[in-house]
Symmetry: C2
Subunit: 337 residues, 2 copies
């Protein structure tokens, strides 16, 4: 049995869409057990009863507009988010899924679960909806802004295991995000990271520029958390903004409206390509347990896909594979940064 904790109250459309997502996921995986944290009376409104689901009463909900995530997760031990995370620490479950605020997820992972022994930094890893079948993993996108080459190398290794086990990619193509493709490009951080990645037992393919972000053949793109956050949001914001511009242009004339009737299926496919629902969520690498952060705006399908990500990560034993790797490759400081 795979056992996961679910924060039933986190997210813009919680608990309704979260619980409906749970109903879908529990049917999909016959060896899945879920422990739901939240307000029982609200959860039950939407829940299809199932003997593999239990509810634990959690009186509070973490505020979405939190300004100090660390104190928020320290002071709200009776919140659905914190209780779900503590279930991981107490080994009651193998992982946790939440659509709560990103910074609270990162804080709760550090405060209430803790990193894998020997793992120096965590990394948040979403899947970008690139043209590559199944999308492209990118990390870190914001868990760490000031970082050393060794940290990037370490979480790259984690991403390599994750892509293999969760996405079923045999020899994931890994690239370093940089401002040119030749070796030696970028800051000292990129130059030193490049050297370290060359030495890892992974399929390192060199540098990739952000202009290739949609069309790259990369399974995994690695970078520091600041750069990754900027690149990911530029990608998402541009895709979203262009969709809006296209809609405006089409609606601006009768010809456009008539044309739309003929090509609405084509435009729907175009739009669907960039939908976040299919992907499910981002994974937080480095904590001692599986942590999936679903989109705040998750609907039932998106949340059910986030649960499937956690299910596959646990089933693929990703955390233990990384632990074993760290035991055989202890962290070494090599940079002078």
């Amino acid at each position: 049995m795979i056992k996961l904790a679910i924060d039933a109250m986190g997210g813009d459309f919680a608990p309704e869409q979260i619980v409906k997502g749970i109903n879908i996921a529990i049917k999909k995986h016959s060896d899945l057990e879920l422990v739901l944290y939240g307000k029982p009376e609200e959860i039950k409104k939407y829940l299809t009863l199932n003997d593999r689901i239990t509810i634990v009463d959690s009186p509070r909900v973490i505020d979405m507009g939190e300004h100090n995530p660390i104190s928020e997760v320290r002071n709200n031990r009776d919140s659905s988010l914190v209780m779900a995370f503590r279930a991981v620490r107490e080994k009651l479950v193998d992982g946790v899924v939440t659509a709560g605020p990103t910074q609270c997820v990162i804080a709760a992972a550090h405060v209430h679960i803790g990193r894998i022994k020997g793992m120096k930094r965590c990394a948040l890893c979403p899947t970008l909806p690139t043209f590559k079948e199944g999308g492209t993993l990118m990390l870190d996108v914001g868990a760490n802004t000031d970082i050393k080459p060794e940290h990037i190398a370490q979480y790259t290794q984690y991403a390599n295991f994750y892509a293999q086990e969760v996405k079923g990619i045999k020899n994931p193509k890994i690239y370093l995000l940089n401002i040119g493709t030749e070796e030696g490009k970028g800051r000292e951080l990129e130059q030193q990271t490049y050297e370290l990645l060359k030495r890892l037992p992974i399929n390192f393919c060199g540098n990739v520029e952000s202009k290739e972000i949609l069309t790259t053949d990369a399974d995994i793109i690695v970078t520091d958390g600041f750069t990754g956050n900027v690149a990911m949001k530029a990608f998402e914001g541009t895709a979203k903004g262009m969709g809006a511009l296209l809609k405006k242009e089409i609606k601006s004339s009768l010809g456009g409206m008539i044309g739309y009737l003929f090509m609405r299926k084509n435009l729907k496919r175009f739009q669907d390509h960039f939908s976040a629902d299919k992907v499910g969520g981002a994974t937080l690498f480095g904590v001692d347990g599986t942590v999936i952060k679903a989109h705040g705006s998750s609907n039932a399908d998106a949340f059910s896909n986030a649960i499937t990500l956690a299910y596959k990560a646990v089933k693929g034993d990703v955390v233990n594979k990384m632990k074993e790797f760290i035991e055989n490759h202890p962290f070494e400081e090599v940079s002078n940064g």
Copy 2:
């Protein structure tokens, strides 16, 4: 008279499109004089004779695929690019326009013109085709990858003069690129830069995230050269890739093709919005003279617009305004970075 040097041989479609762009620009501005550097017999094939245009024979052309730009511009003093840049240093002209390779432009600016006295770094500043009327200036996008807050503050001031004089914006809205909008977000670099920008005599509006890159009301977005390069290329690459995806989707069915006939004007406008031709080029801030880097793939219209940028920058006396500012606000080291 405004006098500019033109590298007639730089760019993918040189000299034909470059010279055709010159023909357009010289008609547009009656007080403009141009000195063309290149191979006279090739230039004359496309040039409409004009007594405000002179040609200087430059036997060599800088290689587009150069790998060591510094040595390239040091060793090729008889190239059209270097000779055009040296004309600025020798005060024969007020500025230079080239569609040559970016790294050579930056190198030639440093080696053959030199920075304004007291200006610590240069910055490359293109206009992004955002939804904002006239687009948004972004800098630095690659002239400097390792940088201090004081450097960003200094070239922000330059951008402020530039936006006023060249784009005619009265009180340009200036934002710092960051991974969150609240003050205190980002790395030490952003936190310290934020403090410095608050104290400048500019209209500093706080942080902007890259997800707002298309829809922002910013006239100017400032950041370090590494982050700016990643953000700009993610923006450009996504816009371009989405255009290609849309085309593919439309062509994939008969309905799409019929629909296209009705809305081709709408789609053309959509496409045109992201065309680089209108913008003309990027400006290199910080050197003692006006330097415009046109797109490598510039056609005649794009290159003529790049000449207009240089014309306006010289007419607006941007370089001297910055010199005066530096005299009254000498550079101070304030960061501990």
